[in-house]
Amino acid sequence: MALGPVEPANQPMGHEPRNQESRPVDFSFDAEVEAFREEVRGFFREELSEERTRGHFDPRDLTGFDEAFERAHQRRAGERGYLGISAPSEFGGGGRPLSFQAAFGFEAAYHEAPCVDTAMTLVGAVMQGFGSAEQKVEYLPQMIRGEILMSIGYSEATAGSDLSGIAMRARLLDDGFELEGTKTLVTGAHKAEVMCLIARTDPDVPTRQGSSLFLVDLSLPGVEIERRATLNGWTLCDVHFRGVHVERKALLGELHGGWQQMAAALTSERSQLFHVGWAARDVDDLIQHCRSHERGGRLLCEDPFVRRELSRLRVEVHVALRFAKRVIWLQDQGRIPGHEAATAKLYATELLQRVAATGSSILGPHAALARGAHLAPLGGRMGWARLERIHGTISVGSNELQRSAIAQMGLGMPRNA
C-alpha cells in the first residue's frame, strides 16, 4: 500500500500493453511527485529513527512528541523546502502543484511524523489568499521554513458545525481591536506563537456579514491558554481572550469579510491524503503482524476471517486513495472540487474507524492494551487508534455536513431544512 514502492516488480499478466500512445485514464502520480515522495520517505525514516526520537515522546501532545522535537523536526523539513513545497516561490515556497503537498502529507502521516499540522497546512491558505503584503512578508517565510507554530481558532462553545453561532467579539478601537471571548477545541495553542481566529466585528448584523479574521500573538496580555485533556490522553486547548488589545495590523483580510475568507480558504488542498497515510500504515502493520504471528498453531494470515477482512481494508485504503487523488487532480488543474472533497474526507475518516475496529478484532484481547503497555501487539497502536479515530469524523466539518454536501452538490438534492 504505502502509496508504495513505485511499481511492483512482477510480470504483467497475460496482456500486451495496449493504448500506449495515449493513456487517457491514469491514476499514478507523475514521476516528479513519485521522486519527491521517495526523497521525503528517506527524510522521515531518518527523522523518526529510534535514536532521534528517544526521550522525546509526549503523550500529552497530539503529535505524540514534545515541543522541542516538533520544532526541530519542522525546521529541518522547512530547510529542505518541504513545508512550502506548493507555496509560491516569492516567499521561499517550492511553487510545485498541490499534489506535492498532498504527497508530503501522506508520508508525514504514514511515518507518524509531527508534520501534519504545520503553520502552512493550518494557516497557509488563508494567509496566501488574504494576507496583506506586510503580513505575507512577516509570516510566510517563517511558516515555510518551519520556524513558527500556529493554531486555528474557529470553534466556540456555541459554534461547532454551525459556525454562525460564534460569540467572540472584536471591538473596533481607534488603534486596533479589543478581543473578548473563548475559543474551544483548539489544537496546539499551548505551543503556538500565533492563532488565526474569527470574531464578530459587527454584532448588529448576521455572523456571515459581520465577522473578521485575525492573526493574534498568543503571548499578549489577557490571553489565557487552558489545556484540557482529551479522552486519549493528549490535550486540546480552551483559549480565553479577556480584553486583549491587538493592533490594526492583526486584522487578516477585509474587515467584516472573515466569513467568506474562511470559506474560501477551505478550498485549499482538500484531498486530506494524510488520513489515507494513517490508514495505509495501520493496514501495512496489521498485514506484517499477521504474517509473522501465530494463533492456534497457524499463522494469523492463514485464518479465513483475517484474510478476508484485511483484504477488504486493503481494497478500501485504495478507494480512499483514489478519492483523494481525484481531488488532487481537480485542484492541480485549478478546478474547485465539490462533492469530491466531501467524499474524500468522509470516506477516509470512516475508513480509519473501520481499520481500528477490524484491526482490534483481529489482534484479540491484547489489542485493547494502551500504547506502550507490556506485550501490547503493534505497541498498543490499535487500542490507541480506537480512541483516536473518534474525532476525525467530527472535526473539520462533521461527516453529517459532508453527507449533506454530497447530496446537494453531487446529486442535486434539495437543501436540508
Binding site: 511492483p8 510480470q11 499478466m13
Partner: protein, 389 residues
Amino acid sequence: MDLSLNPEQQALRAEVREFLTQNTELAELLIAERSETHYDEELFRAFARRGWLQFGLPGFAGGVLELCLVLEEVGRSACPGPFQNGAVQCGLLLGALANQEQRGDWLAPLLDGRRRASLCVLEADGQLAPSSILLRAEPVDGGFELSGLKQLVPYAGTADEFYVVARTRDGGPGEDCMSLLRVEARLEGIHIRPQRGVFDDGAGAVEFCRVRVGGEALVGELHRVWPVLEDQLLVAAVALCAEMNGGAQAALDLAVAHARQREQFGRPVGAFQAVAHRAADCLVEVDACRLAVAEAASRIDAGLDFAEAASAAKALCAVAYPSVTAAAHQIHGGVGYYEDSRLHLYTRRAEAMAQALGDASHHLERIACLWAPLPGRIARRDTGDSTWT
C-alpha cells in the same frame, strides 16, 4: 495523473447511450426478457455490428477502458443480451488462446453478432476453481468425448456453440488438467434444461452425454488453459463491473429523481436528511466502484499488473450494486415495488451479477493470496506488502 476521458471516448459513450436509449423502453425490455430467446436478437446484432464488443481484444482498436465505457451504458439501459458471457468472455478467451485460423473462423462472427456462443464453466458447486470442474473430456480418435454437467450457462438455449472448460486428465485439484473445447450446440448428446433466474438471462444447465468433437475443437494448449482462463476472466470481471456500475448509477438516478419531486409532510422527501444522507452514501459507493473499474481497466490497457485492482473492483461492485438498489427501493417507497417502475430491472440484475465471475468473498480471498499465499497453493504472483502505484 489524468482522470479525464479523451474526446473519442466521450463520443463513443454518447453514441452508445443514444443507441440504447432509443431501444430500451421498460415494456420492450420485459418483452425481450420473457421471450423465447430472453433477449432481442435483432437489437443485439445491430449493437454488435457497430463494433462495440471488439474493444479490448488483441488485433482490434481500443482497449478494455473503451469496452468498459460501452458496457457501462449497457448496464445503465438494462438491455438484456449475451454481452458478457457470450461476447466478452468468449472473446477474451479466443483472443488469448485461439490460433490464427480459429480466430478468423470463430472470433469475428462472434463479435459482430453473426454467431451466438456461451461459455460453460460452472458446475454443481458454482465455484470458479479447478477442483470444482468435473466435466471430463476423454481423448478419442484424435478428438474428445465430453461427459458432464455445466450449470448457470447464460442464453444456453439460443447458443450456436459452447466453449466448454473440461478436465482432460487426472491429477490434484487440476490447475494443469484443464482444456477449452468448442462444441457445436446442436450435437447429439447435449441436453439443456432452463434454470430461470430472478433476472432471466436464459440460463440453463447443459448436460453433455458422451458428446464427440474433433481435435480441431481444442482451443489453446491441452491441459494448460486454467491460468489463462483465470486471468482472462479477471479482465472479464472488470468488464462486468462496468455494466454493474452503469446499473447502480441508473438506480441511484431514479431514486434521486423520485426524492426531488415526491412530496411528503409538505416538502420533497430528498430534503429530509435521513433520505439525503442515504443517497449520499450511494454516490460514495458508486464513485468508489467507477474509479476502481477505471483504474483496473487502465492498468490492463497499460500492460501493468492488474490482479489486485481487478479483484478489488469486483469485490467492491459485488457489494455496491445490490446495496445501491436496496437503498433506491427504500427511497422510492411503495411505488418502486411495482413492475412498472424501472427499478427492479437493476435490482434483479444486481443479484445475478454480484455472484457472476466470483462474489466479494472470492475476490477478497484472491487478494489475500497476493499478500499472504497459503501453503500448498501456488502463488502465481507475490506483490509484496506495498502494492500501490
